[in-house]
């Protein structure tokens, strides 16, 4: 019997003990369940979105804005062209649409034709939200400029005052300068016919 052998046996025993204390885990483990849980959470959101779209409830579920009924907040923004600043009081006496948009926003491109259509019935002032001047000009060149004025909200301060969730977002302002309606998300035919035009008619 060499002196190493008992040592070896001891080592083997230790290893066995270690195994007992730390048995190889083979059952369910949380870390292996996490991907499934994450995926299911995403899938549930997607399913709710999908079925609410299918049942037609999704488009109309708009959050009421705390700004509705209040006078327009002070909005001293530089205009896109020239050195002047935006003066919203100049538009008093008629219904006015304020449209927050950005060149980097895909739904804004989608709503451009609808805004062009609306501009025949109501004055629209656009506010470019967190955008660069050059990008805004490109956007207007590409998708049309039906706006009475375009102002630049470079740092999003005006958006904050208006309570903008994200672009695109549109506000209807009454002749008295009070906010009548707020629509978050892109404008399409349905929004025009069911929300914006009825609200404008009610003002007149």
């Amino acid at each position: 019997m060499t002196p190493q052998e008992p040592q070896k046996a001891q080592q083997a025993k230790k290893a066995q003990q270690a195994k007992k204390a730390n048995p190889p885990k083979t059952g369910l483990q949380l870390s292996f369940l996490l991907p499934l849980i994450g995926f299911m959470a995403l899938a549930i959101i997607a399913a709710i979105a999908l079925f609410s779209t299918l049942s037609g409830t999704r488009d109309v579920s708009q959050l009421p804005s705390v700004m509705v009924g209040k006078p327009v907040p002070e909005t001293n923004l530089p205009l896109l062209e020239g050195a002047k600043t935006l003066d919203l009081t100049a538009f008093r006496g008629k219904p006015l649409l304020i449209n927050f948009f950005a060149s980097w926003c895909a739904p804004c491109r989608a709503e451009a034709p609808a805004l062009a259509l609306l501009s025949r019935d109501v004055t629209i002032v656009a506010i470019a939200y967190k955008d660069k001047q050059a990008d805004t000009i490109s956007f207007l060149t590409q998708y049309g400029n039906p706006f009475a004025a375009v102002a630049m909200d470079y740092d999003g301060q005006a958006g904050l005052k208006w309570g903008v969730y994200g672009v695109p977002e549109t506000y209807l302002v009454g002749p008295d300068g009070r906010i009548v309606l707020r629509h978050a998300g892109p404008i399409d035919r349905r929004v025009i016919d069911n929300e914006i035009m009825p609200a404008i008619k009610a003002l007149q």
Binding site: T26, F32, P35, L36, A102, W104
Partner: protein
């Protein structure tokens, strides 16, 4: 008649794919080699049916058979032939069929080529591939039949969306699909491994070329899409963080992580369950990328036909294709990693042991960063949807978010990219470290100094970007120099030959990243632009050039008419180019597109776009000088080339290794 035949072939392929999903698995369970070997002919039959269906639809498009509803709504008799063909996949039904074609093509290649694979693994992989195919064939047949007829047939078609009538876009979807679908093979391998309950080095060796090939195709496909957006959208940009772009970027990021983690499985036999998860994730993201925009869940400029009713089917497919493997992963994954340590006792001692500074850690960092980047993009893409569910507000998350989150992660990744290849397995850093890292340090400093002195007023982010380029670029060169030692006398060829193909592939792929960064940063920092309203005869100055606007003329194209602006560009009084940006009006589709005029050069592109206007009011013109912008796509091409060399270099090494004993 031919369309009905194609439809029938598609139904036959569907039935064969159902059999393929089941019978070979029964064969594996019963250890019945006859049943197992059925997987191969079933795969060929399924592939044949889909090919016939595709050929039938192609015939419809080429001969402009407007009695087929799909041809009538997406083609036109006056369209050039290439766009008649590409019109096939410029729509939902046709692109879905193209997807399935590539799916069965890859299954066929696997059935034919994978002779060296263990039969059970191969058969299981093919069966899983059959299940995926069955799901898509069902989707195509039941919700998106490309062969529906119109009665009576219209006299002419409605035409293809003019924006899609473009050579870049004719190639972009097929390339991207090869990448997406290539990941389906990795996915099928992963699910087969989970079914078998065993992942080993041989599994990794067989799956790795597929991952590399898919990654190459994805890289090319995304680059083509970005290039298309650059010259066709006329925005002057090359990446917009649009949901569709993000949807292709996410699988690329996951595939890049997978590409690296499978190396660890092959070389060291660890990271197994993580690699499986990545394989499932990468293909899941491909599925999401292909289909989420078609379900009407996300708004995008790129999306064709979005139809919520189809969305339900898509969601069902996603649930089955992602949910089932993830469930399998939750059940089987733990035992797979437990087996890691079992096998390690008889092979390498304590496999899962590695030092803090080691290639194992390096690749772990790589995977961590790439996964984090994937998650950041995932959140940026789906956060608007989640917010909408919670509050009803629809918003867009744009570049401001991604600049603040994605870019810093990538910056850390680039820092690590210089160090990773120098590390050695299990412990330590290789002998090339001194040369490569000091070269990288010198490069970073030189780039920072050059940036700070040559151009004033650079932002911190721009300077950091320049430093990164110098760091990674020179570190790679230092690494290569250390391996080749060109200053030593004698037998450079011997040292050249000693470097294996995959190592060259790695250097090229990483070097491609440097080239890409040079383009992205150069264009982002040094771009100059002018947007003006001009009348004929006006001279505009931009970046040391004088551009004479000579006026606008009308021209006639094959299926459109144009307004073309003539711009003469002079440098130091010398005429260097005539730029002709145009607006096209497609008569059949009654739509117009903007065609930028681009003068591409290595040093940078000149880019001109014609906007609205008339002779009385003047025309709005957008002129750009975009330094180094073409390096962006060149870099992506070099990356893909590196991947390709790794695929074929490995295949050659592998064949040579096999031949030796025989």
């Amino acid at each position: 008649m031919i369309a009905e035949f194609g439809h029938f072939a598609l139904i036959v392929a569907f039935i064969l794919s159902l059999i393929l999903s089941l019978v070979p698995l029964i064969g594996v369970a019963r250890v019945d080699h006859g049943l197992m070997r059925l997987a191969m002919p079933l795969t060929y039959g399924m592939a044949g049916g889909v090919f016939i269906a595709f050929a039938a639809l192609l015939h419809g498009f080429v001969t402009s058979d407007f009695s087929i509803a799909l041809v009538a709504s997406h083609s036109h008799s006056t369209k050039p032939m290439i766009y008649k063909i590409s019109g096939l996949w410029g729509n939902h039904e046709g692109s879905l069929l193209l997807w399935i074609v590539i799916l069965v093509l890859f299954a066929g290649i696997l059935a034919q080529r994978g002779r060296l694979m263990p039969l059970a693994l191969k058969v299981r992989t093919l069966a899983v591939q059959g299940m995926v195919t069955a799901g898509f064939l069902a989707f195509s047949l039941f919700t998106s039949n490309p062969f529906s007829r119109l009665d009576p047939a219209p006299l002419d078609g409605a035409g293809l969306n003019p924006v899609l009538q473009d050579p870049g876009l004719a190639l972009h979807p097929p390339t991207l699909y090869v990448g997406y679908v290539g990941l389906s093979i990795a996915f099928s391998f992963a699910v087969a491994g989970l079914l078998e309950g065993r992942i080993d080095k041989s599994w990794a060796r067989h799956v790795r070329p597929w991952i590399s090939a898919a990654w190459c195709a994805l890289t090319c496909g995304i680059a083509l899409g970005s290039w298309w957006a650059y010259y066709e959208l006329g925005w002057g940009g090359w990446w917009f963080w649009d949901p569709v772009e993000n949807a292709s970027l996410m699988p690329w990021l996951a595939a890049t992580a997978l590409l690296h983690s499978v190396i660890v499985v092959e070389s060291r036999g660890i990271f197994k369950s993580w690699t499986l998860l990545l394989a499932i994730l990468a293909f899941s993201l491909s599925l999401v990328g292909t289909f989420i925009v078609r379900s009407g869940l996300l708004t995008s400029v790129h999306s064709f036909a979005s139809d919520p009713a189809r969305g339900v089917f898509i969601l069902a497919i996603l649930l089955a294709a992602i949910g089932v493997p993830l469930t399998l992963f939750a059940l089987r994954g733990p035992s797979l990693s437990a087996r890691d340590s079992d096998t390690s006792e008889n092979t390498d001692q304590k496999n899962s042991d590695f030092a803090l500074i080691s290639r194992d850690t390096g690749l772990m960092v790589n995977n961590f960063l790439l996964t984090a980047a994937t998650l950041v993009v995932l959140i940026g893409t789906f956060y608007p949807l989640g917010l909408e569910m919670a509050t009803g507000a629809r918003i867009t998350v744009g570049p401001p978010y991604f600049d603040a989150t994605f870019n810093p992660i990538m910056a850390v990744l680039v820092v690590a990219m210089a160090v990773g290849p120098l590390l050695v397995w299990r412990r330590g850093i290789g002998p090339a470290r001194r040369m490569a890292l000091s070269a990288g340090g010198v490069g970073a400093l030189a780039a920072l100094l050059a940036g700070a002195t040559l151009a004033s007023g650079l932002s911190i982010a721009a300077l950091a970007g320049l430093g990164l380029v110098g760091w990674l670029g020179l570190a790679i060169i230092g690494d290569i120099a250390h391996r080749l030692k060109p200053w030593q006398t004698g037998a450079l060829s011997g040292r050249l030959a000693a470097i294996k193909m995959p190592v060259w592939g790695m250097w090229l792929a990483h070097g491609g990243m440097v080239v890409f960064l040079i383009g992205a940063i150069g264009n982002g920092v040094f771009q100059q632009e002018k947007i003006i309203r001009a009348n004929a005869g006006d001279v505009i100055e931009l970046a040391g050039r004088e551009i004479l606007f000579k006026g606008v003329e009308a021209r006639q194209g094959p299926n459109y008419v144009t307004q073309t602006a003539i711009l003469e560009m002079r440098e130091n009084g010398q005429l260097i180019a005539v730029m002709e940006p145009e607006k096209r009006f497609y008569t059949a589709e009654r739509q117009s597109t903007t065609e930028a005029a681009i003068r591409p050069r290595i040093a940078g592109d000149d880019y001109a776009v014609l906007g609205d206007g008339d002779d009385a009011m003047g025309y709005s013109l957008r002129l750009y000088r975009k330094p180094l912008v073409s390096w962006i796509w060149t870099g992506a091409g070099i990356m893909a080339l590196g991947g390709l060399i790794a695929v074929f270099g490995r295949a050659r090494n592998y064949r040579q290794n096999i031949k030796v004993p025989s």
